[in-house]
């Protein structure tokens, strides 16, 4: 089927089987391998993408469900040469170890800050509770999200 949607800021009309999982569509068909797959069952969060600004698990969606939607993957977050403030903070705080969970963490964190611009550390942990990090780097990830929220308070909107 033809799917008409916005991907990382650009309008696209692409062909895909309607029951193609979004994760396969992104990674295999479009080569957008920033979105990862691990459990394939909604338990790990590494396949997180933003659909109309809300975090979703791309392993639990069919390509057909992208019709008319605005999709953001980790590849679409930085503008040209400039990293998004959340990405900057992950670099600055060393919130990346092996990096496999990072795209999902960052996109989940953006959903969290959209709903709750000034989360406490506990709220950050709860907001990211669907994203697993196997390197156990949570402390620094929470630091990075906290710092981004503080910066946001002072600076221009994300």
């Amino acid at each position: 089927m033809k799917i008409n949607f916005v991907l990382n800021g650009k309008g696209r009309v692409l062909n895909a089987p309607s029951d193609r999982r979004v994760i396969d569509f992104l990674r295999e068909d479009l080569g957008l391998t920033g979105t990862k797959e691990s459990c394939g069952a909604g338990e790990c969060g590494v396949c997180t993408i933003l659909v109309d600004g809300e975090s979703r698990l791309s392993c639990l969606m069919f390509a057909a469900q992208l019709e008319g939607r605005n999709v953001l993957t980790i590849e679409g977050l930085a503008s040209e040469e400039t990293l998004h403030p959340m990405q900057e903070a992950f670099v600055q705080f060393g919130a990346v170890q092996c990096g496999f969970c990072t795209p999902g963490m960052i996109l989940s964190a953006l959903d969290l800050l959209k709903r709750n611009p000034h989360p406490t550390r506990t709220e950050i942990r709860e907001g990211l509770s669907g994203n697993l990090c196997r390197c156990t780097g949570y402390q620094k990830i929470v630091d990075a999200v906290e710092a981004t929220a503080c910066k946001k308070e002072k600076g221009p909107p994300l």
Binding site: D19, A41, G42, C59, M61, F62, Q65, S129, N131
Partner: protein, 280 residues
């Protein structure tokens, strides 16, 4: 390849169902896509309800609230009508899976999946919820506890969907409580859960109470006997301990990967006893 249909309204849905009578119908997909991957689903086509606006939202109608079946858990968590009237629902949704699953999964989906461990079912039992069922030609309403027949089994017939959940407001019940025991805080499937509504008087006496346990039997467990034992008393440890053996006797748990039946019986008892320390 399975065809995936995305109707935008009920008219379109009925038309698609008529043409695809064997299709599986889903909302958030958080259960269906997992089962599909395990090759547990062999239908030729799938119908997704996520675009049907008529099935979403929370509507206040006098002393009742109608929750659209296709409302996501996140949308209900953020809904002021729910927050104001049903703190017990908000408490359960807060510990349901993860924010990502809550952004996708729906309350109607949680009901129709009819898992014994479903997080919204015990509280919907204590709220005496009714489900609204629609098909192309008819609409009917029935008590949730009649609708759920067993694990994964409901009264839903071919061509029918759950369109909404009707819940009466419970202004008299001034204490709402939900506790779930799982292996971790996020993404835990309940080992045992207990939803409770209390009407507590100024003298801290229990004037009315409704209790429902999840994950300890094929369907939610309630007990008029325990409720009657608590009415007219303060929520003392002594009173709760007296009622606890009944909880142990009425639950019918199984051994599974998450816990043994014995452990579940013990926790079902303990959650009751712990009501004595619930913040008033």
């Amino acid at each position: 390849m399975k065809r995936v249909f995305l109707p935008h309204n009920l008219e379109e849905l009925w038309r698609i169902i008529a043409g695809e009578p064997k299709a599986d119908i889903y909302a958030g997909g958080t259960d269906l896509l997992v089962k599909l991957r395990q090759n547990l689903i062999n239908t030729p086509s799938l119908i997704c309800l996520e675009r049907i606006e008529e099935l979403k939202g929370v509507h206040e109608q006098g002393d009742e609230v109608m929750i659209g079946a296709c409302s996501t858990h996140t949308s209900l968590l953020e809904n002021p009508i729910i927050q104001r009237n049903f703190p017990v629902l908000t408490k359960a949704l807060n510990v349901l899976a993860s924010p990502l699953i809550r952004n996708m999964g729906t309350i109607g989906g949680n009901i129709c999946t009819a898992s014994p461990a479903a997080d919204t079912l015990p509280l919907l039992y204590v709220l005496k919820a009714e489900v609204e069922i629609r098909s192309r030609s008819a609409s009917r309403q029935m008590a949730l506890k009649e609708f759920i027949l067993g694990p994964g089994i409901t009264c839903l017939k071919a061509g029918e969907i759950v369109s909404g959940i009707w819940v009466k407001k419970v202004p008299g019940f001034n204490l709402h409580h939900f506790e779930k025991v799982g292996q971790r805080k996020a993404l835990a499937i309940a080992i045992v859960s207990l939803a409770t509504l209390f009407k507590i008087s100024g003298e801290e006496m229990v004037e009315d109470v409704r209790l429902a346990w999840g994950s300890v039997a094929p369907t939610v467990v309630t007990s008029n006997e325990i409720e009657a034992m608590l009415v007219g008393h303060r929520l003392s440890r002594q009173v709760l301990k007296k009622a606890a053996p009944i909880a142990r006797a009425i639950v019918k748990p199984i051994d599974d990967i998450r816990a043994s039946a014995d452990y579940r019986r013990q926790v079902a008892e303990n959650l009751l006893i712990r009501l004595g320390s619930v913040q008033k």
